[in-house]
Assembly symmetry: C2
Homo-oligomer: 349 residues x 2
Amino acid sequence: MKNFDINEDPHRRYNPLINEWVLVSPHRAKRPWQGQNETVASDVLPEYDPTCYLCPGNLRANGMTNPDYEASFVFENDFAALKQEKIFFENSTKETFFKAKPERGISRVVCFSPKHNLTLPEMTIDGIKDIIQTWQKEYIDLGKVDYINYVQIFENKGSVMGCSNPHPHGQIWAQSSLPTEVEKTQNNLKTYDDLHQSNLLQDYLQEELKLDERIVIENTHFVALVPFWAIWPYETMIISKRHFGKITDFTSDETTAFATILKQLTIKYDNLFETSFPYSSGIHQAPTDGESHPEWQFHMHFYPPLLRSATVKKFMVGYEMLGESQRDITPEKSASILKAISDTHYKNK
Amino acid sequence: MKNFDINEDPHRRYNPLINEWVLVSPHRAKRPWQGQNETVASDVLPEYDPTCYLCPGNLRANGMTNPDYEASFVFENDFAALKQEKIFFENSTKETFFKAKPERGISRVVCFSPKHNLTLPEMTIDGIKDIIQTWQKEYIDLGKVDYINYVQIFENKGSVMGCSNPHPHGQIWAQSSLPTEVEKTQNNLKTYDDLHQSNLLQDYLQEELKLDERIVIENTHFVALVPFWAIWPYETMIISKRHFGKITDFTSDETTAFATILKQLTIKYDNLFETSFPYSSGIHQAPTDGESHPEWQFHMHFYPPLLRSATVKKFMVGYEMLGESQRDITPEKSASILKAISDTHYKNK
Ligand SMILES: O=P(O)(O)O[C@H]1O[C@H](CO)[C@@H](O)[C@H](O)[C@H]1O
Ligand SMILES: O=P(O)(O)O[C@H]1O[C@H](CO)[C@@H](O)[C@H](O)[C@H]1O
């Protein structure tokens, strides 16, 4: 009988953050692709687009005019999925099948830069630091609102990720409840903390640094790696080397180091297929429910869909929706590809 | 304070099958769409395509020639995500962060019809019954293999669902382990059974039939409804009225009734936006691990991505990946739209 070779044989890997498995099929990367090709966004966008509702000085759908902002700029989402209104609701504990409860929240849009064509990898470190400071300010301001217990900071980049405007921007959805994925993560961090008096992600990071098989970038304060249990082909996670729970815990050195690793990682992504690399990214951090949450560890996820080229993505469909997430290329292979890629943006070569 | 109105106010709903929540934003359906539009597949495909690797008599990638099949036709997937080979592996219980284990399995492709252009809604009831019999045969044959404990039957339809060939076909992935989503479902069915000595989905179905707010189609033996906790805009589930665990439990009347509801539901889907409606669908049923599994209830899920038109889909991206699934239109609204739609295929009008 053949011995198990994790680089060759189909296998499942366990994700301790959410207590779920992923199916890995290393040999399957070779199959030919005859399916849908994504359209690639034009590389040549203007610095200012008079029809863009995010550019400075332009009119938005709700009739407001954007100010002539010079760095990042935040406004309430004109088509928010959450509303601030307080709703009267009598909790019924009897319901098994029709459990529903109102959810209050605030949705904001964060423009990263006044320039319509300036995405993270092409911004200056100072420009990225300004975004981080905006995220910190929003985490504090939204977190202070009495009914807000969690602040989800995220970015959808690229039309393939449902992003409707190429103007570089992210979003913040802040709400009363812990969303499903965050609650799973919190529960697993808590269980680990109770069991080991230690942080799951910090202990994991130590092991990863020792093995050095999935590390993409390391600087003084942060590491970007492809998690052992990654589901997307080039999924990565950024973890701080120091144990802290939230973005407002950054020292000023950490702010610079985080801006630097964000820039380097997104440059590598753009260079991978020489395209403005699509992804959804977001920060998982401590809730703003007033508790101390020592079990939490600040980290950021990148979920990019591209698999083989700028136009061929991985589809998480039938088997993945009904069974479990499945990947073709191994995390080790993805990490080694990303690690080897240049830190200089392809447009500047 | 305003009273909670489930048709108007943002809220979360609970899914007892997988113990997860979904965020519902009824008011958000109104936002304008400026994002990516999907391409619509041509409605006029030939009955036979000489370049299609699924058409009868044609050559496949691995050098095999398809027989001149006349109804459904099954073959091993040439680019299987799973392999049958037995792998030697020493289980280590020490691993916290690097848990992996080999997974054995068999992947098959099921062509639904020799005709390149004949999808489910346009097939005859007899043609669909033939597919159901093929699914039954495969469930039995694959289930008999000693290391196969679960058989996942599914279909990816449409290029937007990663389907690389319009020739109507589904897939079967059979494997040693229970995939993540199936395991969640099984655990929740089991807990309910232990607690109530009754089946969760049967009890749910009774409530739904009484309320009649989310029922799309009902016949003597099956019901198609939009689950209270649906995440996709026009997601549906087919449940049998009789409590049984697997497709091989069908009586011959149930086979006809299931074929009929499959045809009706997919006709309604095609009629919704007058397009060949994309979706991933699949059957959840009892494992083939040799246990009796009285907690199981046969059901079939349909996860279709379209939201507003044949070209505008719902993107499950940033917030959904990092937080939780989110929907705009309420399940009740979707159900009433689907219910009202004609049972005659738009091409035959
Ligand atoms: O097997 P296919 O049709 O080539 O591939 C499609 O379905 C599979 C099973 O859901 C997915 O893993 C693939 O990402 C998708 O493109
Ligand atoms: O808010 P946007 O950018 O209009 O919309 C995009 O991101 C949202 C949050 O992930 C999703 O709910 C939408 O499906 C997606 O199209």
